[in-house]
Symmetry: C2
Subunit: 563 residues, 2 copies
């Protein structure tokens, strides 16, 4: 142990970050002023990692290279059918998948042998909704791969064997990766940091390349319909793909093909989820986390009556209209389809308006309630906020493109007007909700605050006598605002708002996740932007939008607990 200390030098760009983490360990005063033992332990930990510099840089370079090469290959195979085919792209993907699996196996073996490798676990990383979503989407992706294998086996006599090999490898990869991420999402790796960094960026870039490939394939599949006529029968529209030259050797081919194209969106979601988890792991490498005891706030649904009831009503109403929409939109009758769109648009407008209203109430509550902002640094939370705001971009982009198309064509007809209203409300709702969630997450939890208020002041007073004037005033202000009578109704309203928004986000998640695509059923944007471009925008934007809804639900639950 002691030789380690002597060998190490603190010459590392990360040292600053490390020191930062140490400063935020559970009891900094103890560590730095008190017991020398704890201090030595931490200094040693920092120095241990001193050898490994520049690993993040190397891993970043690897990530950039794989991503760009993948991007070029995917674009090449999409826009040029002669020189680069899907087979080339799939060979590249198979190599990436195999390499990533190798690394994951290596990591699992190493961490299972040495107990030292993973000393710290970040309790905030890999929350249950993210891992649960990964499991769900992973299962559906596996199903997609099985259908793919079954389909392409029928084409083996006239098509490349790679088309069967790829889903086989991907199926194995899905199982290995889901296992890996499920058990290691919370790891804060302390040994082999450089190698782990590179491995994780390999994992991230593999998933992103798979994502790019899936998005492109899905877009091309949708545009394959020859000479898209918007009035075309919907049943034909959804079943008109299939290779003309090469005939399938078994009879259930078309059913499988139909099925696996429906499962594509889940595979796209899966790749995004896996990348997000791996990115958090990458950020956590070398981090020293204290044992933040998990907030043991209980969830009492009886606290919130109005929000819960309203939310459940909204979910039920949303589900009913969603089913009506899905049934009616498949009919060939133009009138029926317009009725389905009308119901869908009206329902979404109602949901978005109610959400905007309740979010505004929530923001006003935050203004009235002068609670402390959390000053402690929390990398996972900043990352969470970044992912949330980033993912919301998907829906915002779709909405703005709709707005421009609707305004430019004059928004004639009630359907176009409703579509425009929906898009505007959606942008408003996303902005407000982002603000509400970010503000809420940065508040000091209520119960912690009550206890801490006096303690902190006393502590600060002892250390910095010159702050006494400020803090005394501060304290008296607190005692004033903290009286239970004044606060309770504000907290109650906040909780109601959170519960309502949470349920509303669930229904907004269900509708696109299970197949509602008014973006393609309503012709205005397709006509305006041409089909290829609009399909690309929706196929890139919508999965992020779905991710955003799930993420919002989790964040709102956290805000609910804090309030």
């Amino acid at each position: 142990m002691s030789t380690d200390v002597v060998e190490a030098r603190p010459s590392n760009i990360e040292t600053a970050a490390q020191m930062d983490n140490i400063l935020h360990l559970p009891s900094p005063s103890q560590t730095f002023n008190g017991e020398a033992r704890g201090s030595v332990h931490h200094v040693e930990a920092v120095m241990e990692r001193a050898h490994h510099g520049g690993g993040w840089l190397l891993s970043g370079i690897i990530c950039i290279n794989i991503l760009t090469l993948g991007c070029a290959l995917v674009s090449g195979s999409a826009f040029n059918s002669v020189a680069i085919t899907a087979v080339h792209r799939q060979i590249f993907l198979i190599i990436l998948l195999l390499l990533t699996m190798l690394w994951m196996l290596f990591y699992t073996v190493v961490t299972s042998k040495k107990d030292q490798a993973v000393l710290f676990k970040d309790s905030h990383a890999g929350p249950v909704w993210l891992r649960g979503g990964l499991l769900l989407f992973g299962f559906l992706s596996l199903l997609m791969d099985i259908f793919k294998i079954a389909t392409y086996v029928g084409y083996l006599h006239c098509d490349s064997a790679v088309k069967v090999a790829f889903p086989v490898v991907q199926a194995v990869f899905l199982i290995v990766q889901t296992y890996f991420l499920w058990f290691h999402a919370k790891d804060c790796v302390q040994r082999h940091t450089n190698f782990t960094r590179c491995g994780l960026t390999l994992l991230i870039s593999t998933n992103l390349v798979v994502w790019m490939a899936a998005v492109t394939e899905e877009s091309i599949h949708q545009t394959e319909i020859p000479d898209l006529n918007v009035n075309i029968s919907h049943k034909i529209y959804r079943a008109s793909y299939g290779d003309i030259k090469c005939k399938c050797s078994h009879s259930v081919c078309d059913t499988f093909k139909d099925a696996f194209y429906y499962l594509y969106p889940f595979n796209i979601e899966y790749s995004l989820f896996a990348s997000a988890i791996a990115y958090v792991m990458w950020k956590n490498i070398g981090r020293l986390v204290g044992d933040h005891s998990h907030q043991s706030v209980k969830f009492c649904p009886k606290d919130v009556r109005l929000g819960l009831v309203m939310g459940i009503l909204l979910v039920v109403a949303g589900l009913v209209t969603f089913i009506v929409y899905e049934v009616d939109i498949l009919t060939e009758d133009e009138k029926n389809r317009n009725k389905a769109l009308l119901i869908h648009f009206v329902m979404n407008i109602v949901i978005a308006s109610l959400m905007c209203l309740s979010t505004v109430i929530g923001c006003i509550m935050f203004r009235l309630d002068h609670r402390e902002h959390v000053s402690e640094k929390n990398p996972t939370r900043s990352l969470d906020v970044g992912l949330l705001v980033g993912a919301s971009m998907g829906q915002i982009i779709i909405s703005y493109f709709t707005i421009v198309a609707a305004v430019a064509t004059g928004a004639r007809g009630y359907l176009n007007a409703l579509n425009l209203t929906w898009a505007v409300l959606m942008v408003l709702q996303l902005g407000l909700q982002n603000y509400f969630i970010v503000e809420g997450l940065h508040r000091e939890p209520f119960h912690v605050m009550q206890e801490a208020a006096l303690h902190t002041n006393a502590h600060a007073f002892r250390e910095h006598p010159e702050m006494s004037v400020v803090l005394e005033t501060h304290k008296s202000r607190y005692s004033m605002t903290l009286s239970p009578e004044t606060l309770s109704w504000k907290r109650r309203v906040l909780k109601e708002v959170c519960a309502f928004l949470l349920l509303a986000n669930i229904i907004l998640w269900i509708m696109p996740a299970f197949g509602a695509r008014p973006q393609f059923d309503h012709p205005i944007e397709i006509k305006f932007y041409k089909f290829t471009m609009w399909a690309a925008i929706v196929n890139i934007g919508l999965p992020f939008g779905i991710f955003y809804r799930m993420h919002s639900v989790a964040s709102l639950f956290e805000v609910y607990l804090i309030s």
Copy 2:
């Protein structure tokens, strides 16, 4: 003054960041343990800013909204010529430009009145190369606008007046913005932080929307050539634009039109530069910077003979081949054009190989030279590194797309083989150079280190007795490596490498910045990806590549001084 203190509460998400900044002020020990006065001053400064929370969130939301709306409008006007025309886009841009100018005027007036508004200046922000580049590109953009005005005045009788109004407003904007950024680039705003944040994001998004519009216009202009035949006469290719229906009323129209299309790339660069400076300003809002005395390291060119001589030779050779290329590529003779391409490719390969070689030597020197990494947090430097790596993506993407196209078509013929080699070497060179610069920037300056080494150790020893073992060893190690004899040759080699790379980057900047476009003169990628897509890739990627080269020159100069 005292009432201010009493009113303020430290309830702010920024507080952590503020405290962080305070911790890195020149003499933390003095501030916290010593004179109470200085401490009160800082505490007050932190609390003053306590009122303004969530401003960064609001400004972010504004930025996202403007950018997405701009993106939708630009795409709409590019791909749909009926409902949304260039006129609509220009009206939107005029509104944005006017709003941004209003804010800049407001800011200038406020800061000139109250001396309090800008207490701190970040000496690292807005370096002279960035502001110099801004001035140069601003001047050329102004010229472009004048040519545009002259051109579109001739079309006034049959085209919209907005086409004249837009360049007029843009010309005024260019002057106001260049003035604003030149004098305020280093500001760390302390008052009106929320409003300034929003204003700056308005500035950033305006510039980015202008950038998007310019990139799209340039791409469309290049694809306007009807039925692009690669063997088409080059003179015709470069002069075949012009509206057919609406005839210009004066005779010099075509000359002006020719001229202003040549100036487009400079306008694209200008927008990128302005966004980068504004982004740094946005990051610096509310930051408390200490008076880091500027490193007074002298630049002695006589330290580096070999690197300088080699570099100058390279620049001269590059300039000669560049001129030959520019002359020959405009001839109609296929053979001459191929000769020009051959010379250009060979020259670029030679430059890239030499750069790779010298960067590898530099990296080895870093490995041998066990100097301290800077542990101090420096937001401007992290930002610098981010911009550098981000900008390199532009060239990397172009190179990878070339690689895929060349490999897929078999790289037949010597020109294709050379093109492929160049692209591979370029990716390698960019990766190595990024690594070299980032490593170099994070090293402790040599002269500082020598003085500081003993002092730091003594200081640390006094405060944390338990670290003595570690640091004693550390110290002895230092005294060993620091002996002037061993270091001098390593430092010398590092300086030679920096000087050579610096000059090589200058020639790699000059060639694309002043019009070399082998990407369009050599047919392989155009054939492979179709013209529209390739034009979009090059027009987005190349300006970033040019920005990267200028940024590299500045960073390498810094690394040279540190070494």
